[in-house]
């Protein structure tokens, strides 16, 4: 019963259907990648889970409890998003203090420790932080909360490479120490590919697939060679996409490879798989 269950969720704006009868599940104790193109509906779904906006249809439950307007789930879920929702006039240390009052499971000492590691000035007001440091502040809060479900919506926006690496290592360290579920919505697929265990791919308001990363990568591959040879090989197979360069061609295929002397086979990476799946969906 420990899961976030999304059942038949739709969200209709005036002339746009942002989400179209979504069903999916986020199980306890796993790291999920919520992937999708710009405008796919990731943030809309996250905002509905976090009770920031209302679904037009459907229901979301968190550990069996309704997620809408329910204080019983207050200590179950936290959402870190790119939207600036904090009191911009307060100092970072005061925002930490207030978070510790709002949440029973916020580790104030850990927050200051993480802030120090990121060189986040806790005496600065939120509005005077750079975009990158505003993200770091939000990450710090999320990493210092010991809750069953933590959602990150574009967590590394504006972060340099060093800070991104630090965030990923802190996330993994937290994950090892606590039983929690992380949901990471991001465009930097290759960066999180080594972190995430499951993928939920959302495209044009619909769930394209939900599967483990291991299973996805085991059941897709690249085949390359002369265009005519590749075309011959691809007959009867589920082709996700193709790239052509002169007389050579690479095809991305779903399934298991069949040996061929004239062709080269290689594993597909998660980003390429995502690109080809969403291109196919758009076509």
């Amino acid at each position: 019963m420990n899961r976030i269950q999304i059942s038949n969720i739709s969200k209709q704006y005036k002339d746009i259907k942002a989400l179209d009868h979504i069903y999916c599940t986020f199980e306890s104790g796993r790291i999920y990648g919520l992937l999708g193109r710009n405008g796919a509906g990731k943030s809309t779904l996250i905002n509905i889970i976090a009770n920031r906006i209302f679904a037009s249809e459907g229901e979301i439950t968190i550990d069996g409890l309704p997620s809408v307007e329910n204080m019983a789930i207050h200590e179950k879920i936290y959402c870190m998003s790119e939207a600036d929702l904090y009191d911009s006039n307060l100092k970072v240390k005061d925002l930490f203090k207030w978070t510790s009052r709002f949440y029973d499971h916020f580790d104030l000492d850990q927050a200051f420790e993480i802030a120090a590691r990121f060189h986040l000035d806790v005496n600065k007001r939120f509005k005077s932080l750079s975009k990158g440091y505003q993200s770091i502040f939000k990450l710090t809060i999320a990493l210092s909360l010991d809750l069953p479900y933590i959602i990150f919506d574009e967590p590394v926006l504006g972060l340099d490479a060093n800070h991104r690496e630090l965030f990923y290592s802190l996330l993994l360290k937290n994950y090892e120490q606590r039983e929690c579920t992380y949901i990471i919505a991001t465009h930097l697929i290759e960066e999180v590919a080594h972190l995430i265990e499951d993928v939920v791919l959302i495209d044009q308001g619909k769930i394209l697939l939900q599967d483990s990363v291991e299973h996805l990568l085991q059941n897709a591959y690249c085949v390359s060679g002369f265009a005519s040879e590749v075309d011959q090989y691809c007959l009867g197979k589920e082709v996700l996409g193709q790239d052509t360069l002169g007389g050579m061609k690479i095809a991305y295929i779903k399934g298991q490879p069949q040996a061929s002397e004239k062709l080269q086979f290689s594993p597909i990476n998660l980003q390429k798989l995502f690109v080809k799946l969403t291109e196919r969906s758009a076509a």
Partner: protein
Amino acid sequence: MKKLQALIRYEFETTFKYIFLFYAICYSVIALVYLLILILQGHFEDAGTSCLDMNSLVFLSIISSVGFTEDFRMHIQNGFTRKYIFIGTTSLFAAMALTMSLIDTLVANLMQYLTGNYHSVFTSLYGNAQPWILSWLWLFVLYLCACCLCYFITLVINRIGGRLFLIISLGGALFISLSLSVLFRLVLPAAMIENIIRILEMLFGFMTNGGIQVFYPILLFSSLSTIIMLSNYHLIKRMEIKR
């Protein structure tokens, strides 16, 4: 309950400092003006002030609308439900109205004692014969009503957008003023108009026998506050975070 207490404490701690600042500025300006008069004229005979509570009314109206967006977003970010946000905000309004009405009533009494010619909004309307506790209560419900009304306007603007709100407000005001003019001048009989005026006077505490009954306006503002608060709750429970 503990979460609600934390939310209410946040509202109080982040807002009350502005009340102290407001009074500091307000009374500093008055002191400065008195000083200038003393320097220029050598006496206070021509100096005077009244209705300082109007400043508080304006201040409360502004503060109850300005902080809405940021507070709402902060509370939603920290997982509070809209019901809790409404309770926290309404509690803040009640506390601000209670505090400021008490301060203003005590200041009014002190100024009247010291100068003999100070008038608050209440004494300007109802004279000095009423007990100060009634004056305080009247001012409290007036302030509360103003806070709730300005918050309501902010919520409506947030829901429908500023432009549409402006059009509806201007159009509505024009329609109401024209309709009332036509009704009163051309449609309603004179006896009915007199009755309407008499009822309105009674609602504001002015009885037909020439007496004053302050409980009626207190009841009026309390009822208005309740109705507006219920409307606020209805609006806020469907409020969404805008991107």
